[in-house]
Amino acid sequence: MNNNYTEFMNRKNEIMKKSVGLDYDKYEQKGIGFDYELMMDDQGYDIEKIRSIQNDNMVGNTPLIELKNITRYARKYARNGKGARIFLKDEAANLSGSFKARRAALAVNQAKQLGYKGVIAATSGNYGAAVAALAAKAGLKCIIVQESFDSKNISQPEILEKARKCEAYGAEVVQLSVGPELFYTFLQLLDETGYFNASLYSPYGIKGIETLGHEIANEVMKKVGKFPEAVIITNAGGGNLTGTARGLKDAGAEDTKIIAASVNLYGLHMASDIDFNKKSFTTGHTGFGIPFATYPDRSDVPRSAARPLRYMDEYIMVNQGSVFFMTEALAQLEGMERGPAGNTSLAAAFSLAQTMDDTDIIVVQETEYTGAGKHIQPQLSFARKNGVEILFGNPLDEIPGKNIILPKDGSYLKHEEISMNDLRKSYLKRHKDTELTTEDYQFLADELRITCQEVKDLL
């Protein structure tokens, strides 16, 4: 072990505390739990304030569009009376090109308010661009830390594009090779610079998305006179789902089903130097979605504000080929060039809508900008260069890392379900040898959205 490495990992709590300007100890309870709602409500951001900060920053109020052609397409494979109307929230219209600007707007606002000189975020995704753009607008310095390349110095084109975009907004980009030691570099940089940790998992990072839930509830109500039956959310770290669900509920859409969707990357190891460039999606996949759902506090803050199992009704997967297929369908049928990763929930909605009534509304709650490197064309081209076969057939036969199977027609685009109870059991694994109090059971019941008795049964 390297001394410096051990030293920084041991100083983790001290560095974290200084860099988020938030004392998490305040919310800790006696046993395993903490007061989640108090932590969320305690930061001085109500929905009006969030909306106003976002409005000032060209964030939010994105168009909600009915995808009539894609709905018509999905209905070709639905039984009579089935085939929900599919709506799409065009989050690419936000400053920096994704819903992540909603999160960054609050984090950067908080950093500015607390007097930090700069912000740091660890992300190889759209969040980096969002933080960089908002920091530029706020006059703060910005460092984005990316896991970027393998031991052969090969980078995912999608990640290179994000780096370029961050640099376009004046940010410094620190690019790292594959491995969880990114966190060590992140701590070192926080310590060296004294900048604010614009974590995706702080209360600000989550509260910023509540406006998205509000907008969906209100706009669907205005357009069709009811709340949507379902909102489908691409799930990775869990923040997008948590914030959207909280916003929907806060706006009164209590009965709207919250559905998580991820790209199926089963079998690929996220810390593997070899697997790193064998995947065609760097986010929105099960490699993040499942571990962060079943152990939210693995994140870069002491207590993650992203706790998806508190809100999730269903978790479904689609494969890489299906997302590429829908990315192309969105361009061909609706004239919208977006994604690909953000289209994960769209691909899932195409299949799921076929099981819902034709009077139902399903909202796909994001799109993201697309461009060089970050596009169906370079991502498939990169896959082929890395020995991944591109085939037509049944996408459910796809083996991540070996092939990408594009549906041979629309009828083959089908989702798969992940068992909610398996996820809950996996969450509870950590506590199976712990002596649990009544309060602990209640905390776990809230975490998993089940009763204390069901927690006991699962344990």
Partner: protein, 99 residues
């Protein structure tokens, strides 16, 4: 390369035997590295160990890899399967009438 040039450096942060435990074998066998860009602080040749001043004003030392570091990502070689995807989508929607 002149002092004041914009360059990219590469630095090994942890040697393979210094890395975090519990890594997949293939990752544990290779060093943990960093790339960063900045302004070259002294005249140097490619592959020299140099210091750069980064965009936020930090100093980093590492091996000089690139001068005016290029953005190499693009749209790549065309993937003809995308043409077939388009054909499938339009046939699904409009059948033969589209041909």
């Amino acid at each position: 390369m002149d002092k004041g040039s914009y360059v990219r450096i590469r630095k090994t942060l942890l040697k393979s035997d210094e890395r975090s435990p519990n890594l997949p074998v293939e990752t544990s066998k290779v060093p943990y590295k960093m790339w960063v860009k900045g302004i070259l602080q002294e005249e140097a040749d490619l592959f020299d160990i140099v210091t750069v001043k980064t965009l936020t004003g930090r100093f980093e030392t590492g091996r000089l890899k690139e001068f005016n570091p290029p953005y190499k990502h693009g749209y790549g070689e065309f993937i003809p399967e995308i043409l077939k995807l388009r054909e499938i989508i339009h046939n699904d929607m409009d059948g033969d009438s589209n041909e």
